[in-house]
């Protein structure tokens, strides 16, 4: 057992746990995007940042890749963490504003502005599809190509790959392909409708009239502008 300090509490982690696993075991919520329990860790999205160490030596690390260490001081909700996380979400919205998953993260963590040029690239390079293909589908059909701002996901020579068995696993796991954000204001960069939604039925009744609001899909009653 490894003993460490998590948000001021003395906690125990098992040998080999990451900080993310430790935090989740103790019920602390840390948002993630490129992490998936069934796949190897990647550490690319930086959403799962936590602060380790104290004083001027404190630094941000990605909790999904950082192992629990004896005596480590970890804080998951410092100002620095929250600001860095918001910045990562803001950047991701600017890259792929059509992703419901990313819009939901923006709503949840109160990202209210996008100060970057919107690129509509439909891929945030989280690498989930690549790992899904290689590790779960035994495919190895897609991978990262080029680097820097030209980095992209594709098949060899951008052609249909012989290794691809069209299982759809890559699409299934992609945070951008999966679900389109269809909020009422989806033509603006930041939807935030889920955050600001006011179910119209509450104007007339004192309880919600259907399940759609809880499912995050209130149609606010077939809105007409």
């Amino acid at each position: 057992m490894i003993e460490l300090k998590l948000n001021g509490l003395n906690v125990k982690a098992e040998e080999g746990w990451t900080l993310l696993e430790t935090a989740r075991f103790y019920g602390l919520e840390i948002p993630t995007l490129c992490y998936n329990e069934g796949l190897s860790v990647f550490g690319g999205c930086r959403l799962c940042l936590v602060e380790i160490g104290e004083g001027p030596k404190a630094r941000l690390v990605s909790s999904c890749t950082y192992p629990a260490e004896e005596g480590l001081v970890v804080r998951t909700d410092t100002k620095r963490v929250i600001e860095a996380r918001r910045m990562m979400i803001e950047l991701m919205v600017s890259i792929a504003p059509n992703s419901k998953k990313i819009q939901d993260l923006a709503s949840k963590f109160n990202v209210t502005q996008v100060r970057f040029k919107v690129r509509n690239e439909e891929c945030v390079l989280c690498g989930l599809c690549v790992r899904m293909c290689a590790e779960q589908m035994d495919g190895r059909a897609i991978g990262f190509q080029n680097r820097g701002y030209k980095k992209k996901i594709s098949t060899p020579f951008d052609l249909r790959s012989e290794e691809c068995r069209q299982c759809g696993g890559c699409i299934y796991i992609c945070p951008v392909c999966q679900l389109r954000c269809q909020g009422p204001e989806a033509d603006t960069t930041l939807c935030n409708a889920c955050l600001t939604m006011d179910p119209t039925c509450l104007d007339h009744y004192d309880e919600l009239q259907c399940w759609m609001y809880d499912a995050g899909r209130c149609g606010t009653c077939v809105r007409e502008k």
Partner: protein, 158 residues
């Protein structure tokens, strides 16, 4: 195309079909053809037992490799910070004008390929232009002309 396979096969044999020699193998193929032909990459992947996508990943990661045929002479203009402030972009646009191609492209007669790079590590002598491994220091627009003329004359040196 069998000629390519035979050449690649001898390269592979020289490197004892070792997976960890992948970069060295690709370098040899690049040196031979001035680019990495598709069938060569496919053959390398198959022979080494490395997924093709991983070979492509390596081949597209390094600037030294090219999947498109390159010209006989490779002109690289530095656009790193130091060369940038000393006029790198002007040098580049002069090459673009003279060779009538944009960066990353090759002239129709396959004589020149124009590329850019972000810092070669010799900022003191900027703006830097490299042609086939020869460094040209303190390049000026006027020097561009003489560089182009010098290499335009040099024909095949295979």
């Amino acid at each position: 195309m069998d000629a390519v396979i035979t050449t690649v096969q001898s390269t592979l044999t020289r490197h004892q079909n070792e997976k960890r020699a992948l970069i060295a193998i690709l370098q040899d193929i690049q040196a031979e053809y001035n680019f990495l032909p598709r069938e060569a990459l496919e053959f390398v992947a198959k022979s080494l037992g490395v997924p093709l996508i991983d070979v492509i990943g390596v081949a597209t990661f390094y600037r030294a490799f090219s999947l498109k045929p390159r010209g006989r002479h490779l002109v690289t203009v530095c656009l790193g910070t130091a060369c940038h402030v000393r006029g790198g972009p002007k040098i580049l646009s002069e090459f673009v004008k003279k060779l009538a191609i944009s960066p990353g492209d090759t002239t129709k007669d396959k004589h020149f390929t124009l590329e850019t790079v972000a810092c070669l590590g010799c900022c003191a002598i900027g703006p830097v232009v490299v042609v086939d491994g020869n460094y040209y220091a303190h390049t000026t627009i006027r020097k561009v002309d003489s560089i182009v003329r010098k290499y335009a004359k040099k024909r095949v040196k295979k």
